[in-house]
Amino acid sequence: MTAVADRPTTTPAPRGRPVAPGRVLVRGSAAHRGLQVAGLLLVVALLVWASTWPLFRMGQLTNVFVLAIAIAGLNLVTGYTGLLSIGHSAFFGLGAYTTGVLVVQYGFDAMLTVPVAIGFCFVAGLLVGLPSLRIHGLYLALVTLAVGVAFPELVRRFDDLTGGAAGLVIRARLLTPPEWTGISRAQRGIWLFWVSAIALVLVLLLVRNLTRSRAGLAMRAVRDHELAAAAQGVHVARVKILTFGLSAAITGLAGALFAMYVGALAPDGSFTLLKSIELVTGLVLGGAATLLGPVVGAVAVVFLPYLTSLVAPGPVSGIAFGVLLIALVFLMPEGVVGRAQIALRRVVTVVDADHPALARTARDPGGPPEPDGQQPGPPPSTDEDQPR
């Protein structure tokens, strides 16, 4: 590595050396597209296969999908932008109660409440994001903690709307799947399974787009060095507040789906700080600031306690779960997906098509690298891989 620094810096010398160790996969190339299509087909096949499972198993998977959406929301603000939130249980709850109250008290169609829940949580997220302009690090976490603590109290306080501590029951009749699906009310688990799965895929697509855009670059710049980000012209305040809003909106979407999934809401049920901690745990386990980390994290959070209770029955299982968590964080501080990415990079590197070394070989296939001193032309930018 020091050889790089010792090289003279005054004469630009383009090189034709390999871009990276191992195999190189060009983003947008036939091979890369093929792998992407294969991956998508595999996911669809797995979902179709899972939809033949018993309803109980499908319900568990629905729970995983919903949790993955919630963690994907948290990932934007905590993973990519570096603002630790332990108040996301409040957005999860706000989304759930928006759906619950609108369906039960105002007779809304359950699916129509989802955009309302997303909108409410977006606005709430903007408001909770405001303190992040002045407060940093653990102090900001404390502010979000207060929001998380306050939410169940607010639900109890407005009991004429929310049913208070007694809870809010959404009757199965109100959650009947639309007629065109041909799914009966008793089978509504299948409907929710597909709705959650599609919602998760859509959320992951949007997050992927965002994190690859220059807006995503600005988010990571704010996380890595706020002062330097501002010096580059990043509007730090706008990035933080909008990310908070977007993050809350996505977690709120998860909450709305969760309300339909459980059908009964109670302030002490799934909307306390424990939920926030579950989301943060899932994020760290799966891999913060990775696209698929939230999915792996959700699987871990749902199934690990179940597994440890098989190995160590009774109260010991909680301890076993804790020990497992500590071990995982020690062994893989980057999370499962982060660790997998590092391992994968040793085997294959995905490179964008605009890399100058590739542009050169494209113009001069098989030939020697160009002589020193020549300015490289603009690389072809038409192959830029951006999902639609």
Binding site: P12, A218, A228, G233, D354, P378, E384
Partner: protein, 261 residues
């Protein structure tokens, strides 16, 4: 710039004073930077050089005085718009985005350019992605020019110091600045690297035509490449002129070596 000719100053600092509680970091400081010139800013530690940088980049608020850039009142511009006006900076102790790749660091230098909206980003609008592709092409060019191609896809945090300095320089150039603020670019470099840096800065200035305000302790570098030098001590300007004039100025000699008893 309508109505501006080469002799109009690009940066006008007039009577700037900064106080932190009882400590006066800058007092009645005035000087100009003309378009395309390298202006050295020297002075012993604590003379207020970095404080001045932080005033120009709107991190500190001067208690008195005015700073104008290309005829515009800089003190009325919020910090995040400074880069968009064409002022880029490097930091004394490096301020890279450590977890991001070298290429992404450089690309972030264009954060003031339009196309960073969250909604276009979420939906991958063709307009936004086209603009990103064009900026990436520019970022790749800078990466090549500053000899960073081999490390372009590595995270910035693990790179050697000299390499990271070049990353920061490339990031600053990405903003297409008309004024480049360089805060001790030679700090921590070996003797050979400092010589290279001097040549590189002059070559880049000739190529891109920016003016540079160069804060530096390394006298060889400042005196070697500056068109003009401003010397400061205790927050005041004590001398200004060509490198030779400033080098011989008794006030400068006294500030660095102490007064004869």
């Amino acid at each position: 710039m309508p109505g501006a000719d080469a002799h109009d100053p690009l940066l006008e600092v007039r009577g700037v004073a900064v106080r932190f509680g009882g400590v006066t970091a800058l007092r009645d400081l005035s000087f100009d930077v003309r378009p395309g010139e390298i202006c050295g800013l020297i002075g012993p530690n604590g003379a207020g050089k970095t404080t001045l940088f932080n005033c120009i980049t709107r991190i500190y608020e001067p208690a008195e005085g005015s700073i104008r850039f290309a005829g515009r009142d800089l003190l009325a511009v919020p910090a995040h718009r400074i880069a968009g006006l064409g002022i880029a900076r490097t930091f004394q102790n490096l301020a890279l985005f450590g977890s991001m790749t070298v290429l992404d660091n450089v690309l972030t230098g264009a954060a003031a350019q339009p196309g960073t909206g969250i909604v276009p980003g979420l939906l991958a609008w063709p307009g936004a992605t086209r603009r990103t592709a064009a900026l990436r092409a520019r970022a790749w060019e800078l990466v090549e020019q500053l000899e960073l191609l081999d490390v372009a896809l590595l995270p910035a945090a693990g790179l050697p110091f000299g390499t990271r300095k070049r990353v920061e320089l490339a990031r600053a150039l990405m903003a297409e600045p008309s004024l480049l603020l360089l805060d001790e670019p030679a700090g921590g470099l070996t003797h050979a690297e400092v010589d290279e840096l001097g040549g590189l800065l002059v070559a880049l200035r000739d190529r891109f035509g920016f003016a540079a305000l160069l804060v530096e302790h390394h006298m060889g570098l400042v005196m070697g490449i500056s068109d003009r030098v401003v010397a400061m001590d205790f927050g005041r300007r004590i001398a200004a002129g060509s490198p030779d004039e400033v080098r011989r100025d008794p006030a400068v000699v006294a500030a660095y070596l102490g007064r004869a008893a």
